[in-house]
């Protein structure tokens, strides 16, 4: 008998529903993206995001079931992102998932959004099994996670201030690019000289797995301000390339250091920033040089989507990690937090 998972994701500006078979086969992955709507505001507006979620939530569920050709009655468990994310946005997905679960009696699985991002790797790479080291980089998170088993995670270190994606978007905004700016920096960096300007790399001593990008962000802003005050020309491509290199070097070096420290040879990347070409190329090169195996999710699986939530939910369901109908949205909740109800 196959196991069918229905998953819901609404933590930021994507409303998504997916149906999975046996945890690793994606039958449908419907994503309703609001990116075009938030662009003019220069970032995600929480109230507007929530308004679109309540409009989109049932249509995406309906389409996911239809595309998968699976009936709601045949679903074995419902996984939903309960955090971290925008609270108003999360609440819509949580309310809908609870409504479905209560109406049908299908058990509910509370999924951590970043654990979902890590699990996207299982969908993209059918042969991947724990243990492995995962570099998690997104607009809200930057961390190195040791995935020891499907149910055992250890955070080796995370950012003390800005997330890598946040730094990308902020610098892109100052340089005049529309939201989301990360991809613009990535594209521009290809045309520039990464060694043109030396920007600081914080906490770069070996054995330190924490990150800090606020100093780098200030350094880039100062550089741009002082150039424009002096009336000097700014070579935008060089700034983008040098800034991107500073971030990528830190991410790659710390990943390498952590892998050697743990004796881990399987490396995965997770989160929205994993779509950054500069980072992918550098990480792949490092892995090749060190003899590591590098796994990455595809472009869509690296952005917010419900299939990755479904994959995480499947393994949690196998481990008996269900919650009751009191589940609440948690805007900031660490990886590995217990949201399920023991013995449920």
């Amino acid at each position: 008998m196959s196991v069918y998972t229905l998953a819901l994701e609404s933590s930021c500006d994507e409303t998504s529903a997916a149906v999975l078979k046996d945890g690793r086969t994606v039958l449908s992955n419907v994503i309703s993206s609001q990116v075009p709507i938030h662009r003019k505001f220069g970032g995600v507006v929480p109230e507007i995001a929530s308004r679109h979620h309540i409009e989109q939530v049932i249509p995406v569920i309906d389409q996911a079931l239809e595309d998968a050709n699976v009936k709601l009655e045949d679903i074995d468990h419902i996984g939903v992102t309960y955090g971290p994310g925008l609270v108003g946005a999360l609440l819509v997905g949580v309310a809908a998932a609870k409504g479905l679960s209560f109406a049908t009696g299908i058990p509910l699985v509370p999924v951590h959004h970043m654990e979902g991002h890590i699990f996207a790797n299982f969908l993209a790479n059918p042969t991947l099994e724990p243990p492995f080291l995962s570099l998690v980089v997104s607009g809200g998170h930057t961390m190195l996670v040791h995935v020891k088993d499907y149910e055992e995670f250890q955070i080796l270190g995370q950012t003390r201030d800005d997330a890598a994606g946040e730094a990308f978007d902020k610098i892109a905004r100052v340089m005049g690019f529309p939201y989301p700016g990360g991809p613009h920096i990535d594209a521009l960096a290809k045309e520039g000289n990464p060694n043109a300007i030396e920007f600081p790399k914080a906490l770069s001593e070996p054995g330190n797995f924490e990150f800090s990008f606020s100093g780098l962000k200030s350094a880039v802003l100062n550089y741009l301000n002082s150039k424009s005050q002096k009336g000097e020309d700014i070579h935008q491509a060089d700034v983008a390339a040098s800034f991107q290199k500073a971030i990528v070097d830190v991410l790659v070096d710390k990943t390498k250091d952590a892998a050697h420290t743990l004796g881990e040879t399987n490396i995965t990347i997770a989160g929205g920033v994993s779509a950054n070409q500069g980072l992918q190329v550098a990480l792949e090169a490092m892995c090749k040089e060190e003899g590591f195996t590098y796994y990455k999710p595809g472009k869509i699986l690296s952005t917010d989507n419900a299939a990755m939530i479904g994959c995480r939910a499947y393994y949690m369901a196998q481990a008996g990690k269900f919650c009751d109908l009191h589940l609440n949205a948690k805007p900031s909740v660490p990886i590995g937090t217990v949201a399920w109800v023991e013995g449920k």
């Binding site: 994503i31 075009p36 507006v45 569920i61 309906d62 409504g99």
Partner: protein, 251 residues
Amino acid sequence: MWLGIETSSVVSSVAVMNESQLIGEITIQAGLTHSEQLVPHIQTLLEMTNIKHSDLRGIVVVSGPGSFTGLRIGMGTAKAMAYALRIPLYGVMTMDGLARNIPYTTDMICTVIDAQKKHVYAAFYTYEGSKLTMIEEPFVVEAASLVDRLQSQQKRVVFVGDGIKRIAPLVEGDRYLIISDPIYRIPRASSLLLSARTMIADGQSSDPMTMVPHYIRRSEAEVLWDEKHKDNPLRLKEEPTVTVIEAAGEE
């Protein structure tokens, strides 16, 4: 049997009613979050009243205005339940339910729902015999100017709704303007169900695929953006929508 869900304010209220009577109601005003409490309240109510899911013939949910988040939790839950159970879904305006709290009065009823920043969402109702009629479409108004307008009429008006906290300080000692007592002023799912009777009889249900809350107010960000770009009609016309993709085949 119909289930009513009212989450437009801090009050969580759920009720079940059949054609002739109220079977049960849970109304809690204890500062608990709707997100955590709503579905457990529905579960408890159905258990206590011995009502099975299959007995439900429809769901009535408050459609707004009120707390944006509260409305979305109620509606997200109601839409998912109606979708899963394949039963009709009905949306009732917050004020239509609230006005039912004051039955058969000859006074005018003024529903006031907190709209933040000294404002309320207001509406007026009167009874003609046992029939309740809205006499003016809901509008957003500053509490003080609503009170000024009603004071000048010199007619008895009864206030209901959580906007009372903005109105009450302005009408102390006024012989015409009456602040209803705490048990009458809160939104109740039973009142919502009463209000939905005509809608149910006429088959005016909403589709869970398309139903959205009646916020009345736009988001702050949109108001500010339009204000900033009011001199540029081309930009004001920009109305991007969501893009929906099916990404299951992605490698």
